[in-house]
């Protein structure tokens, strides 16, 4: 409780935020109003409170007017509370004597009526002035940070982050769901705009991950449980059985060769189903780790138990173990990087483009595999009939920029469509048509690449495709697919007959994104990608301290951007690790012994088991190290014996009263 003898001297500062606040709220009026409130010694309005002069203004006033409480009326505390707390500290005042009032996100940006917005701002300032009088000096608690890091997802973002962290000398656990790392990038043939081969730049990094002494790589594994908090996470990783002992297998492929299936029979996931694989397989020659995997959904041994197990006998290293069980690994880490990536839009969701109905409608990922020399067609672009197409139509924005599917632009499709147009032209000499809404090529060398394509005889038709159909109007069109689209440049609907259609599918959040979000206690934005702490100033941070995001799990992103983000996320994690400790908000609960009646109501309510019962004293007690400061026990205590720092009853009640009582 505040010292009764202490005279409360409050300074109130109203921020204009340029026109952001001043355009919708009478900031001068609010400042004048605040000046008349009890205990307010000085009240000022200023153009940008968060600027250096703004902060210095507060510091100078604290000294000059001997202020001991500060109310900053500006934007959301989630954005600038730290800034103003530091300014308060610099002036020699405890940072918890500062209270923020949010009149930007909560008022000026959302309320249109000037008078109402001003009235609301006054109410909020009055509430804060009443609250701040009761605020107490508090200190942050320091907890050590475990230097180990967990990275979830072994695509290019995860690989880059893992190598950065490992090179900085930190112990890295890289967990990947699939049997190999590499992610989507491993599927690609060439990368835009430089057209360098994806495998050539990716696979060396994959083997570096495998060989790095600081990296523990767990593929075919998933995080199954997470406990703890920033600096001190306890994570459970489940290693799915691959029925091949990783340490013994050398990837010689003998088992694959000797499998009782003479030919591949099941759709090969890596080749987008364009080829078949056996139940025992290695996804691709550069898979890392280069270890075979047995798919228990298709393997005869697991389906019927009646297999001669030719694979097992073929392995001279005895690496095959049909009795493998899921293995649980428990690790302790201080920070987590989520690099779980994206999934491609399912083209079947737009039936008017005929994917799944007309055999010669392909997705862009299928064509990526086709143009790849080690792909299912050995680099030949072929129709399902096995012929080289004479004309190919590439439809942009499939599952992007569409009210009915996804509203967002997937950012990469224009560029990869240009790349595929170039490659298809190069491989087949076909007429290639690009149907686009807008050509979006923002990036270094990207527009130049587009320009290059314009000179390569590739056709560009600006307009959204309405349908792909086999309805023909002349005998020459027999056997072709017709792309119908509005050509907005000439203001007409065109029918372009082609042999092959490529759907440039967009990027969407992974189906398991929600599961992962819940496990790591972070949020997703409206469309389902992981939510960053601030879109501009904290793009790799989340609202959960110690958990960072990078790559396409945060939003559609190309390779350069994913790698850059991975670096940023690694740097953020390194900052935490190298400072050795984190400071936690002191919003923990505590029990006033004299009031506690020992009723035990609080014991079961704490989700962290932070409350224990002292039988001798017949009172409850809270372990501060375990308390996370939700305040649930505070509200539950029937005798009001439990209090919460930063959110004391008296503080909240005075805030509520302040809103309504003038």
């Amino acid at each position: 409780m505040s010292n009764n003898k202490e005279e409360i001297r409050i300074g109130v500062y109203i921020c204009h935020c340029g026109h952001n606040i001043a355009g919708a709220v009478d900031v001068v009026g609010v400042a004048e109003y605040a000046a008349k409130l009890p205990n307010v010694v000085i009240s000022k309005d200023y153009k940008y409170m968060c600027s250096d002069p703004g902060q210095e203004l507060i510091a100078a006033d604290i000294k000059e007017y001997n202020l001991n409480r500060i109310v900053v009326t500006s934007c959301s505390p989630l954005l600038h509370e730290k800034t103003f707390r530091e300014a308060t500290t610099k002036a020699g005042l405890n940072q918890y004597f500062m209270q923020m009032v949010n009149i930007r996100e909560n008022v000026s940006w959302v309320n249109e009526n000037f008078d109402d917005a001003t009235e609301k701002s006054k109410d909020l300032v009055r509430a804060a002035v009443q609250r701040v009088a009761f605020q107490r000096a508090l200190e942050k608690q320091k907890v050590p940070v475990n230097p180990n890091v967990l990275i979830v997802g072994g695509g290019i973002a995860g690989i880059s982050a893992a190598l950065t962290m490992a090179n900085a000398g930190k112990k890295v656990y890289l967990v990947e769901k699939e049997s190999t790392i590499g992610g989507h990038m491993a599927i690609f043939d060439k990368t835009f705009p430089t057209l360098d081969c994806a495998a050539c730049i990716l696979t060396p990094k994959m083997s570096s991950v495998k060989n790095h002494p600081n990296i523990t790589l767990w593929t075919y594994s998933e995080v199954s449980n997470v406990e703890g908090f920033v600096g001190n996470y306890k994570v459970q990783v489940t290693r799915k059985p691959r029925y091949v002992i990783e340490d013994l297998c050398v990837g010689c492929m003998l088992c694959v060769e000797k499998c009782i299936f003479k030919e591949g029979k099941f759709p090969d996931e890596f080749n987008q189903g364009l080829s078949k694989r056996k139940p025992v397989y290695v996804p691709f020659p550069q898979a890392t780790p280069l270890v075979a995997v047995i798919d228990d959904k298709t393997c005869i041994h697991f389906k019927t138990g009646k297999c001669t197990q030719t694979c097992k006998t073929a392995c001279d290293r005895n690496a095959i173990d049909f009795d493998q069980k899921p293995e649980i690994k428990e690790i302790e880490v201080g920070t987590v990087l989520l690099t779980t990536g994206f999934q491609a839009f399912d083209a079947k969701k737009v039936p008017y483009y005929g994917y799944g109905k007309y055999p010669n409608v392909f997705t862009s990922l299928e064509v990526e595999r086709m143009v790849n020399a080690s792909g299912p067609t050995e680099g030949h672009v072929l129709t399902r009939e096995g012929k080289a197409p004479k004309s190919v139509g590439i439809i942009h924005c499939v599952g992007s920029r569409d009210e009915k599917t996804h509203k967002w632009c997937s950012r990469v499709c224009c560029m990869y469509s240009l790349k595929l147009a170039h490659l298809i032209k190069e491989h087949t000499g076909a007429d290639v048509y690009n149907f686009y809404i807008d050509m979006r090529t923002p990036g270094k060398g990207y527009e130049e690449f587009y320009d290059k394509l314009l000179h390569e005889d590739v056709h560009f038709i600006r307009g959204r495709v309405s349908e792909v159909t086999d309805w023909i109007t002349s005998p020459e069109e027999e056997g072709k697919l017709i792309i119908r689209a509005e050509d907005t440049m000439i203001g007409m609907v065109r029918r372009i007959p082609v042999d092959m259609v490529v759907l440039a599918v967009g990027m969407e959040p992974r189906d398991d994104a929600q599961e992962i979000r819940k496990m790591f206690n972070i949020s997703c934005s409206t469309e389902g990608f992981f939510l960053e702490r601030h879109p501009k100033l904290a793009p790799v941070n989340t609202f959960t301290d110690g958990v960072f995001i990078a790559g396409a799990c945060q939003g559609p992103r190309d390779i350069p951007d994913s790698v850059a983000q991975a670096g940023a996320a690694a740097a953020e994690a390194l900052v935490l690790i190298d400072s050795g400790h984190v400071e936690l908000e002191p919003n923990t609960a505590y029990i006033v012994d004299e009031i506690c009646s020992g009723c035990k109501s609080c014991l079961n309510i704490c989700p962290y088991k932070a409350i224990t019962f002292d039988l001798e004293k017949n009172k409850s007690s809270i372990n501060v190290a375990l308390c996370k400061g939700c305040g649930t026990c505070v509200a539950a205590c029937p005798s009001s014996a439990i209090k919460q720092n930063l959110f004391e009853d008296v503080e909240i009640f005075s805030e509520i009263k302040g809103i309504f009582v003038e």
Partner: protein, 155 residues
């Protein structure tokens, strides 16, 4: 003194707009409120937000105090079930909400004056809609008389 009261009444009669106390948890609904701001969604200036870390901190007395001080309505915002930043705080909030509803019924307070909504950090739009709806409902319902009634009892 009497004249002042009169004036006050005239003023309220003319320009009364509901005042709604909004108690939002830090992680979901307060963040949604920020998102509504960043997205420049528009809603009536009827709410006054008090931030708590978790909806589990909601003390029923917050509600009763607000009503007796003149709140026309109260909106509580927490994370969706299963999404609580503190695992289960929102469930505890829900339990208390049901109790307060019962109490309000006994006290003859219109149930519309208290609303609990699960609004996640990504649902800025939902937040704006809820505030819009609630403002409409409470405007139709009229000013809360609880403050006056409490004052009369205290007299």
């Amino acid at each position: 003194m009497q004249e002042e009261v009169k004036n006050n009444n005239i003023q309220t009669a003319k320009a009364w707009k509901p005042k709604i106390l909004a108690i939002f948890c830090n992680w979901c609904t307060y963040t949604a409120s920020d998102l509504a701001g960043v997205s420049r969604l528009k809603y009536p200036a009827t709410t006054r937000v008090v931030r708590i870390m978790c909806s589990g901190r909601l003390d029923p007395q917050f509600i009763l105090t607000a009503f007796s001080e003149g709140a026309d309505a109260i909106l509580i915002g927490g994370c969706h079930p299963g999404d609580c930043h503190y695992a289960t705080g929102n469930y505890k909030c829900l339990r208390r909400f049901h109790l307060i509803q019962k109490y309000m019924k006994q006290m003859n307070i219109e149930p519309e004056r208290l609303r609990l909504e699960w609004i996640s950090a990504s649902e800025g739009k939902r937040l704006a809609e809820v505030i819009g709806e609630m403002t409409e409902t409470i405007t139709k319902l009229g000013q809360s008389k609880i403050k006056q009634q409490v004052a009369n009892i205290e007299k």
